[in-house]
Amino acid sequence: MSGIRLLVGTRKGAFVLVSDGKRERWDISGPHFGGWEIYHLKGSPVDPNRLYASQSSGWFGQLIQRSIDGGKTWEPVGNKFVYDGVPGTHQWYDGTPHPWEFKRVWHLEPSLTDPDTVYAGVEDAALFRSIDGGHTWQELPGLRGHGSGSRWQPGAGGMCLHTILLDPSDPGRIFIAISAAGAFRSDDAGKTWRPINRGLKSEHIPDPNAEVGHCVHRIARHWSRPGVLFMQKHWDVMRSDDAGESWQEVSGNLPTDFGFAIDVHAHEPSTIYVVPIKSDSEHYPPEGKLRVYRSRTGGNEWEALTKGLPQRDCYVNVLRDAMAVDSLDSCGVYFGTTGGQVYASADAGDSWAPIVRDLPAVVSVEVQTLP
């Protein structure tokens, strides 16, 4: 019978949650790396027991951990992230130049074909790659160096590269997103990049055609339609049908279009999920009701999914990397909250139940569908 393994990163450690295909009973192991911030963990698609984890702390900096047995044991690998050449400056919050400084790894994206190759999205924003299982890391400097890097600014959470999408049909194509610079695309395996932000509107940017400066929170897409992208921006849910060449707003009837997480159903490429958050100054759900919204039409028409979720007095947040879907026949959807709950739906969002209620604040959730 198939199994599900959830990889949960929290402010105080990592947790591994395992169930069979029914997704009713869960075994929870952890905390791994207790007391450390675990921004993200992810498994290799070609070797699911090969996991990578980003472990960091304000005291001791960044570590990368690797497991070859599905998270039972871990070993620290390379943690030397050095920008290529002279790092230069980006803009600080007040618009003044600020030197590029490595702070942490936000997102790890293992290669679709090689378990030893993994990408790391870091703060201050840059893309690194390891081709030796995480032992050494090299920056792909074309991203910061393409011309607009000196104009990038941090979002409230820092200037983080948080989204890395690899294209299963085109090994040369990579999408990334940075808060608050925007989305970028490479068509030559990361050598050169260009911004893909046409159509994004951001109130804090006076120029409606600004090439960069947009606070993209997350991008998702279905593997079968790699050119169709869905974006949760700071405000606005957006869609692109042309690999980011242009974007259209699809917020439709959402109660608020601010939020962080967005994901796509495993088998229905036009079914997408978001968790609306009241505003950028109130990082909790509107009306104290935790609601996932689902669109079966690729946006614009949304339905609230509430069954099993708290519908009063709920003031948690769902962060950008904290939602994931499995690929069982009835698609499972999972998300974690800053209140430490991990919710699961085994029926594509129709009903929900908490797997666990009292973890540290959840930063990221990834899911592995195991044979």
């Binding site: 007391g35 450390w36 702390s57 304000g58 005291w59 001791f60 900096g61 960044q62 570590l63 620290p76 943690n79 030397k80 050095v82």
Partner: protein
């Protein structure tokens, strides 16, 4: 032998259960002690001092013999009591954060 006391998180990271006693080549200084520590426990590289600049991470301090050595030069000799192994060289995390 130089006696080093590490913060709990770094002891766990390096799987250290007992005391850390290091053989140090030449004079005992912050640099030579940290070089020896990282040679014994490579997973600690980058966690105490920056990989490139070799500067102490800002939320860590170095103490020995009730003295704060954090702002001493890295090649300054450590106190005799540390060099002889009578007193430990403390690497301490700042009491900050949550």
């Amino acid at each position: 032998m130089i006696w080093v006391i590490l913060p709990t998180h770094l002891r766990m990271l390096a799987h250290i259960n007992g005391e850390v006693k290091l053989d140090v080549d030449g004079q005992a200084t912050q640099r030579s002690v940290l070089d020896a520590l990282e040679a014994c426990y490579p997973m600690l590289r980058g966690t105490i001092r920056d990989h490139v600049t070799q500067q102490r991470r800002p939320f860590l301090r170095f103490f020995a013999g009730e003295q704060d050595l954090s702002h001493e030069l890295p090649d300054a000799p450590l106190p005799d009591a540390v060099a002889s192994g009578a007193e430990p060289f403390f690497i301490v995390g700042a009491i900050a954060g949550g």
